[in-house]
Amino acid sequence: MIHSLFLINHTGDIFLEKHWKSVIGRSVCDYFFEAREKAVEPENVPPVLQTPHHYLISIYRGKLFFLSVIQTEVPPLFVIEFLHRVADTIQDYFGECSEGVIKDNVVTVYELLEEMLDNGFPLATESNVLKEMIRPPTILRSVVNTLTGASNVGDTLPTGQLSNVPWRRVGVKYTNNEAYFDVIEEIDAILDKSGTTVFAEIQGVIEACVRLTGMPDLTLSFMNPRLLDDVSFHPCVRFKRWESERVLSFIPPDGNFTLMNYHVSSQNLVAIPVYVKQSISFFETGPCGRLDITIGPKQTMGKTVEGLMVTIHMPKAVLSANLTATQGTYTYDLATKVLVWDIGKLNPQKLPNLKGSLTTQAGTPKPEDNPSLNIDLKIQQLAISGLKVSRLDMYGEKYKPFKGVKYLTKAGKFQIYIYMFIFLENLMSYLLFEWLQCVLKHSI
């Protein structure tokens, strides 16, 4: 299946290669570099490429390309999912997935890759099994290892692979037994210029951090499980119990893991926490334009909106921005044409406002394309969908664990359409817009 793997950094250097069958020369990557050149942004490289003798499937994570070489038919998602699993594992082991970290731990990474695939077919991808075979490095251990010549390779045999519960190792012991669950919800929304919701949904995830002794069997139940529209689970969750009783019953992996992902889609349920008043306009006569943005709270369920941030991708013609913010700071990146306004906490008494002028390149035509406005925010102690965990029960062990649930709401892909107004000259496109809307109204 997967024949070889190349890790490539953003400048196009191959800094790690691993072959699971016979060796394939680096020249195969040239086809990829060609495609990389053609796509301006690294995100735009097609994930699947066809070359005369091979197929290249790649992912882009943390400014690195994971490029795998395939020779025969294989489901592309199989490979993509696996490559992401590799990146996840590296992140899990070393805290981040970057070129520097991989180069520093090249032997460990190589050993990991060796264990994860056998002849191109996944062998051990559970982090718990891998950690039994190859211990993640810690500062203390690396010092001890240098002194004593001890190794990172586990000296016990990895029995996890033989277990019926491969995600949990046996003989886990803690003095403090604790289980924490974070319910994190992201609002994905598109609002039109008048503030009406074009599309909104909530994506939720329950991240768990479980440090419990022995083989606990947990049951997590919700006050209102009917809210959940669509769910996907960690393999430890028993499907049958969910189907019949709507409770999550599972023997947890040890440590941090994603217990479930869910989706709430009914539009009326999705509360939009903020509103945005904005106007961006350009004058035909001079090389300048105007910008005015105000943000206020809408449906926040009485909680404070924090970490508020507005990102605007400006038209290419905008040279600089001279603005004043009543709260927070703004930066305008000339190279990428991105305006970032970092507001912080939203004070409902005094609404933050950003106002000022924009300079465009003199002599160039006025920008025609619309900027897009994205919002980032955080609300602590609130799951915006209203989902609530009712209880967590533990069976199979005698001790009393410490339990905790935290809620957090974030903005996911929260986008607001902006329409710019350009005075005088480009009436044509403005009229077209109005006219099309007119026609559409009639056609409905």
Partner: protein
């Protein structure tokens, strides 16, 4: 602080010391730490792609090193370079051969793994032997490794195929989840065409699927999709597909109306099993698994059921952009065939400014496919926003999408066209060019209405530089020159002027325009045409020179010109069919969805075609499983499997015995009956008696058969799943034996399997909670259940003739599990023997309130006496009563606790109609029994 700095200095000192020595010296040293350091350096070199092959002799010496990490790194090195240094690699083989005999399963497995990864042809026989041995290893993990080794050996030496298939066949029969995924992978790589190997394992694979690891699930599901396509009938064959794509199919149906009428479609239970067991996997966190299930449903499920996959696929759109890319490709193909499925999720395909271009374009494709009369206005409004995007490639794609919506949905054609015309004044040339191309295609559909648009476009030739757009405008003017008689010659004049500077496609269209004008308006354009043709004659491009020569011959009459020139006008100005703007994803579904070939729209190497449905279903009985002859299998063999033998042979023989009974009448005494039955069983099982002897408990079951119960398949129920039980799994069945300590109890046979690695001790029952009147006789404590072993025990429960559950705790030396047993009503009775006359007499006394009658239509496969008897006796523990009429089947039994008589009659009529009568003084039992038997007969 001081300590830290000392350590650092010491480390520096150590590393400096190491640095001084070469890798060679370090590998030869006695210190493991130096060896390790050297190996780490070497592996780092390999990882960076540098050549380290010259160190081979020094490294291979360390293959037997005691230090585990050194050993592992040596393995890594060996696997990488063995192919290049075949002779030296042989030195290491004996180490692995020793490892294969190690008592620890993990060491055996790792030895096999490395041995099979060394790509040296000379050791093929050794590998073959090792694989064969490992395939029958006690440990499932070693067997899994053997399955992994099969494709490796096959790629090294394809000649071994036949032998490898034997191993695959053996491993396919394995009943552990650990092996299933790997062996199916080996099957797919070595012998995907041997679909016959799957038959016997089909049901097992379906049942194991949910517990197999994620990657194995993907492979198994894809394989089963192909299998199902060869073995089952098309579930949609009698459904008229309303979408126009299926006209062909309709025609086919019209030709063979007899076939369609022949019989209504009934889904094979095995087909249903596959659909049912894969559905929960839509909730997997692994996108590949979700996609595999989605494609299975798309290719195999009845139309009404395919919809369930939409939600799961939409969920994947939240995942990484690469995942989105693949999923959207597949969704695009699905939306063409089954649009309705994704319509409720229309808004999930709305485009965000942060999406990568390729995702945007694919989402557009899906939106366009989903467009219909009701949602078109919403979609067009969305498109309007997209046109203003900064991403110009995306804008171009949007314009094309508008064009496609316009062709597909007549109502909005004018709206779209006008909107596009407005775009012609856009400042971005790419946008204008794309609009021109699309407008050209739209105008071709109804040119007469739009001469003003054509005029407008003619004016654009001065400004637009994009060749494709210029070519399109010129073609339009030429084609419809009669609508713009004044402008056309002027355009030609301008073009003639700039001819030499144009791109090739534009030049070709200028020639075309000239030719068409010459034919319609030769007075004004004769000279111009000649001029253009002369220019073209000396063009650098031979295509243009050829075209010019050809056109000159055709349109300019000379004495030499043939008969063709008469038809020149007809040739050039023939009515051209409007182009069909269709999705690039049309017809891609002949590739299996989710495959690489589907994504590339080209057959990838090793792609297995998805076969068409068969016309008639192949024999479904090939999937029936017979008794397994392996000792190891005892632990996991289910009663459903062993039951098959009973089904096939039991009842037939029994009928014979009944006939002789009723004929002679004298022989039927309780004593002779018993011995007769023993004899009968001995006869039937003679051939396989040897195997059964190994299964002592089953043998016991045969020997202690005292009554005439035609024990059909015994159904196994799960009492404790192995995950909940931490490796201990318990299954139970109602053995239908009289429970000797107490005749009023139902015998429950429990089978304990210890899947854990540790022994389980002191298995017993505690804390029994029962409804009043119920009683339990516990089994004697099982003192020791070693790892991997299986034990059975029988307990008795008096359910008081009710279906209430018996709750109790199952205890081991460490744990307690709450479990409960609830009997189906059919298990609350025991068979009794009645003659025909006795039966009628008893029935006569149980009329009125005690009689329940139900009319039913028998299942297609259940229309003969044999299957009816079989199904009724499976549903309830009753015995057959001899009967003179062959239209009636009678059964009798008594409830276990109160010995109330239960009489069942099934009278069959024409065309599968039948009547079921149950007489029983316990009305509740009677009603429930009717339900159960009804279900058994109609399913």
């Amino acid at each position: 602080m001081f300590v830290a700095s000392v350590i650092i200095v010491f480390c520096l000192f150590l590393s400096a010391e190491k640095e001084a020595k070469t890798n060679y010296q370090m590998l030869d040293s006695n210190k493991d730490s130096l060896k390790l350091e050297a190996m780490k350096r070497i592996v780092a070199m390999i990882a960076r792609g540098k050549n380290a092959s010259d160190l081979f002799p020094a490294v291979v010496k360390n293959v037997a090193c005691k230090n585990i990490e050194v050993k592992k790194l040596v393995y890594v090195y060996l696997v990488r370079y063995a192919e290049e240094q075949q002779d030296l690699a042989l030195l290491s083989i004996s180490t692995f051969q020793r490892g294969l005999k190690d008592p620890n399963q993990l060491i055996r497995a790792s030895a096999l793994r490395v041995l099979s990864s060394i790509r040296v042809t000379i050791i093929v026989p050794i590998m073959m032997l090792a694989i064969k041995e490992a395939a029958s290893d006690m440990s499932p993990y070693v067997r899994k490794t053997a399955a992994h080794a099969i494709p490796k050996l096959y790629s090294l030496d394809p000649e071994q195929k036949d032998q490898l298939i034997e191993v695959i066949e053996k491993l396919l029969a394995d009943k552990t989840t650990l092996v299933a995924g790997s062996v199916v992978m080996a099957f797919e790589e070595v012998c995907p065409e041997r679909i016959d190997l799957i038959h016997k394992n089909y049901r097992k694979l379906c049942n194991l699927l949910i517990d197999v690891e994620e990657w194995g699930q993907v492979v198994i599901i894809n394989m089963l999709t192909r299998y199902a396509r060869t073995q089952f009938l098309n579930p949609n064959m009698n459904v008229n597909e309303d979408e126009d794509e299926d006209e062909e199919e309709k025609e086919k149906k019209a030709e063979t109306p007899a076939m369609a009428k022949r019989k209504p479609y009934v889904m094979d239970p095995d087909h249903r099993l596959l659909l049912r067991n894969t559905k929960p996997l839509l909730q997997s966190r692994n996108a590949a698994v979700v996609m595999a299930v989605a494609q299975l449903y798309f290719h195999l499920a009845p139309k009404a059921e395919v919809g369930v996959i939409a939600k799961a696929l939409v969920r994947l759109l939240r995942s990484h952009s690469e995942v989105q890319y693949v999923v959207l490709q597949n969704v695009a193909t699905m939306t063409i065939k089954r649009r309705g499925m994704f319509e409720p999720y229309l808004k999930s395909f709305y485009i965000r400014s942060t999406d990568p271009t390729q995702i945007k374009v694919l989402k557009l494709e899906v939106l366009t496919n989903l467009a219909n009369e009701t949602n078109i206005s919403t979609i067009l409004r969305e498109f309007q926003t997209y046109i203003k995007s900064m991403d110009k490639d995306f804008v171009a794609a949007t314009i094309q999408a508008i064009g496609r919506c316009a062709t597909n949905i007549g109502e909005v054609r004018d709206t779209c066209l006008n909107g596009l015309v407005q775009l012609l004044s856009n400042r971005d040339e790419l946008v204008v060019a794309e609009s021109v191309v699309v407008i050209k295609k739209l105008l071709q559909m109804q040119p007469e209405k739009h001469s003003d648009i054509i005029k407008h476009m003619a004016k654009l030739t001065d400004n637009i530089q994009v060749p494709m757009a210029r070519a399109s405008i010129l073609w339009l003017i030429g084609e419809y020159c009669e609508h713009v008689p004044k402008i056309a010659p002027d355009v030609l004049r301008k073009m003639a002027k700039s001819f030499t500077n144009e791109e090739d496609i534009v030049k070709l269209q200028i020639i075309n325009l000239a030719a068409k004008l010459y034919l319609t308006n030769s007075k004004q354009t004769k000279l111009l045409t000649q001029y253009v043709l002369n220019l073209a004659k000396y063009d650098q491009n031979y295509d243009i020179r050829d075209r010019a020569r050809f056109i000159r011959q055709l349109i300019v009459p000379t004495e030499k010109s043939g008969a063709l020139s008469k038809y020149a006008k007809k040739l050039f100005l023939a009515l051209k069919p409007a182009p069909v703007l269709e999705s690039p994803f049309k017809d891609r579904d002949h590739f299996q969805l989710g495959s690489l070939s589907h994504l590339l729209n080209a057959k990838a190497g090793g792609y297995q075609e998805l076969p068409d449905w068969p016309e008639a279903a192949p024999d479904p009985s090939v999937r029936n499983v017979e008794v397994k002859d392996s000792v190891r299998a005892v632990g996991t063999v289910t009663y459903r499997d062993t039951g098959a033998l009973w089904d096939l042979q039991g009842p037939k023989k029994l009928e014979g015995s009944e006939k002789s009974d009723s004929a002679s009448g004298s022989e039927s005494g309780s004593g002779s009956e018993e011995s007769y039955m023993l004899l009968f069983h001995a006869n039937v099982y003679q051939p396989s008696l040897y195997n059964w002897a190994l299964v002592s408990m089953t043998l016991h079951l045969v020997l202690c058969l005292q009554t005439i119960a035609p024990s059909s398949a015994l159904k196994n129920y799960e009492l404790l799943h192995r995950i909940t039980g931490e490796g201990l799994s318990v299954e139970y069945c109602f053995s239908r034996q009289p429970f000797s300590p107490d005749a009023n109890m139902v015998a429950v046979q429990m089978q304990f399997t210890n899947n854990a690695t540790a022994d389980t001790k002191n298995l017993h029952i505690e804390d029994v909670k029962l409804q009043s009147g119920m009683r339990v006789k516990e089994f004697s404590e099982i003192e020791l259940l070693p790892a991997g072993e299986t034990a059975t025990a029988v307990m008795g429960i008096d359910f008081c003739d009710s279906t209430q559950a018996a709750n109790f705790q199952l205890c081991t030396h460490t744990r307690k599990f709450f479990v409960s047993i609830q009997p189906p009503v059919g298990e609350l009775m025991r068979p009794v023997f009645l003659t025909e006359n006795e039966f009628k007499k008893e029935q006569g006394q149980l009329m009125g309130m005690n009689e329940i009658t139900e009319k039913l239509t028998l299942d297609m496969k259940c229309r003969n006496e044999h299957t009816i008897v079989q199904r009724v006796t499976t549903a309830a523990n009753l015995s057959r009563v001899p009967c003179g009429s062959d239209k009636e089947c009678r059964f009798a039994g008594r409830t276990v606790s109160s010995s109330s008589l239960v009489l069942v009659t099934v009278a069959t009529k024409e065309e599968g109609a039948a009547q079921l009568t149950v007489n029983c003084e316990k009305m509740v039992i009677g009603t429930m029994l009717v339900k159960d038997i009804l279900l058994a007969l109609t399913q």
